[in-house]
């Protein structure tokens, strides 16, 4: 069992408060509790957190607990001021309702005021009145806690909910992508890249970008959910910002999404590397893709798609997966079809002909492409995502007499 993820999560939590706990120590404690003492992982995590909180003299987080004992913790607050572990009273508007994830939850969604927004959960046991999307409520004595690193408002049996007559319209200000934090957030961004949906419950996933950076988004299949249009600009409010392995992503299922006419000059991510191609990975060359609308997965040799099974009417495509090495660092690269054609001089039609008429079939295309590019110096331009450069343009490096002269001068000295 791997504890590093949990340990990092715990350490990040304390790092936000300016503390620097030792991750290895945390990991060791978790491991000891779970492996040696048979404690449930969630319970082990909780106990390590409270031990550290004690060590740093912080109030313990978690539902109920010591916060209740502090009394008077239910003062009225702005939503953005709620801190995990506190009892709060807030006034806000229900801006989204989502399908409860479990039978013990009566309602869940997002509540907002002019300071911000927070996810909320109404426990079925609380017998709270159902709240309606678009209405304002005063919620007294709810608890802010944390679930998967995101602040969450819990409405339990001790909470009172009153509908209030408010009709302010809330206009949240989008934040730059680079400033997003786990929780609820809004962006004004362009849909710059659509990805293969890698789960059958997934409606769409891809990349959004603005002037400050890019972020992954996902929309899960749910009645009434619509796909975004690649290339379009959107104002997105009340999206859930999740964190996984230190990377943020946007879950748009509960978000308010408005398409607009504007244009955004997406920056960031666009970069280039120069080096030698030192490896061409299996899966390069000519490949077959699943023809099902929106799937596009690479098929196995037996034309098998992990989701749509055997697909005899596959579509051919070209790609090169490999490593570009500048002598100091090696970059993982993925070269798309038109760039592969230009770089190798082998068009998709030609590759198809080779694959269908050669005893080695698709392997022959791999070998010819490998021999054409492996060991060569090239410059690749593209966008780097999750440590991989998606190459949309590349060129061979040309010998420069200027570089040659400069190096001769640098090596210095008169010829011996």
């Amino acid at each position: 069992m791997d504890y590093s993820e949990a340990a990092n999560r715990i350490s990040r939590k304390f790092a936000q408060g300016g503390q620097t706990p030792d991750v290895t120590k945390i990991e060791g404690k978790l491991k000891r509790l779970v492996d040696e003492f048979g404690v449930q992982p969630s319970e082990a995590e909780r106990s390590v957190i409270s031990e550290l909180a004690k060590e740093y003299n912080l109030p313990a987080a978690g539902p109920g607990g010591s916060a209740a004992g502090k009394g008077g913790g239910t003062e009225e607050k702005k939503i953005a001021e709620g801190v995990p572990g506190e009892w709060v009273t807030i006034e806000g508007k229900i801006v989204a309702l989502s399908a409860p994830a479990s039978a013990s939850i009566a309602q869940s969604g997002i509540i907002a005021d002019d300071s911000g927004a927070i996810r909320f959960v109404v426990w079925a046991k609380s017998n709270a009145p159902a709240m309606a999307e678009g209405s304002w409520y005063r919620i007294e004595s709810a608890v802010v806690d944390e679930y998967k690193g995101v602040a969450n408002l819990k409405i339990h049996s001790g909470t009172t909910i009153k509908e209030i007559a408010e009709d302010r319209s809330l206009i949240p200000t989008p934040s730059p992508i680079k400033d997003l934090r786990p929780g609820i957030g809004g962006v004004r961004a362009k849909f710059i890249q659509e990805w293969e949906a890698n789960h059958e419950r997934m409606l769409q996933s891809g990349l959004l970008g603005d002037e400050t950076g890019t972020i992954k988004f996902v929309i899960w299949k749910e009645p009434g959910k619509e796909r975004l249009v690649p290339g379009a600009v959107y104002n997105i409010f009340y999206a859930q910002v999740d964190e996984f392995n230190g990377r943020l992503s946007l879950n748009l299922n509960a978000a308010t999404i408005l398409q607009e006419e504007g244009e955004i000059a997406v920056s960031g991510g666009e970069t280039s590397f120069t080096g030698a191609i030192v490896h061409i990975a299996p899966g390069s060359g000519i490949i077959k893709r699943c023809p099902v609308e929106g799937c596009n997965r690479a098929l196995s040799r037996q034309n098998y798609c992990p989701v749509h099974e055997i697909q005899p009417k596959f579509v051919y495509d070209l790609r090169i997966k490999g490593w570009l090495d500048d002598g100091e660092k090696t970059h993982n690269i993925l070269i798309q079809r038109d760039v592969v054609e230009a770089l190798t001089g082998i068009s998709l039609e030609k590759a198809q002909e080779i694959a269908e008429n050669n005893p080695l079939g698709m392997d022959e295309v791999f070998l010819q492409m490998r021999d054409a590019v492996l060991g060569r110096y090239i410059t690749c331009h593209g966008r780097e995502i999750d440590g991989r450069l998606l190459v949309n343009k590349c060129e061979k490096v040309a010998f420069s007499t200027g570089d040659h002269t400069a190096l001769l001068n640098r090596a210095g000295g008169a010829p011996s």
Partner: protein, 199 residues
């Protein structure tokens, strides 16, 4: 001693491929020290370059001047690849089937690009052999060879310059392991290699 799975060392963070260092034959052949980074069976092995940098993998371009097939049961190929400063000894055996097939197909002389791992052997007579276990070898053109000479010269000069500045742990280890080698020697080697490229 416990052999539990949880006692296995784990790599932190995402996988990072070891970069392929650029080094001239004249420098590589001076290597006398290799070490493992870590206790694990799968920990990478590094050859310490005498200019002060560890190297798990190298990339070189030169002229394949000869190749020989050896062994019956455990067949393998040896080859000699020449750069402006000397000769690299490369080999590919049955553990590198792809590299062996590539090498088998190439008829010397040809310009070749080689990606491989340096290995040190001490022969029974006490002399040392540095060979490169090939991961891949492809035929390239002269332009690629010339680009490599520039690239190898640049990295050699970078290492020599770094050697004179702040000592890294690898540089300290180099001073300890190669007390008689003056890295400024490699500056001259780089110069001579560059000077051999005709305008």
């Amino acid at each position: 001693m416990s052999t539990n799975a949880r006692d296995m060392p784990r790599r932190e963070g995402a996988f990072e491929r070891e970069p392929a260092r650029r080094v001239f034959a004249a420098e590589l052949r001076e290597c006398r020290y290799q070490f493992k980074d870590g206790e694990d069976e799968k920990s990478p092995t590094f050859a310490l370059l005498p200019s002060g940098q560890r190297s798990n993998r190298i990339y070189l371009v030169g002229t394949l001047t000869e190749k020989t097939r050896q062994g019956e049961q455990n067949m393998f190929y040896r080859g000699r690849v020449v750069d402006p400063t000397g000769t690299f000894f490369v080999m590919a055996g049955s553990y590198q089937p792809e590299a062996m097939q590539q090498l088998a197909k190439i008829e010397p002389p040809q310009f070749v690009a080689v990606i491989g791992k340096p290995n040190l052997y001490q022969k029974p007579d006490g002399s040392w052999l540095v060979s490169v276990r090939v991961e891949s070898i492809t035929v390239v053109d002269k332009d690629t060879r010339d680009l490599w000479v520039l690239d190898a010269a640049k990295h050699t000069l970078d290492r020599v310059d770094a050697f004179a500045k702040e000592p890294t742990p690898d540089i300290l280890k180099t001073k300890e392991q190669y007390p008689t080698i003056d890295p400024s020697l490699f500056r001259k080697i780089a110069y001579d290699a560059l000077a051999q490229i005709k305008m």
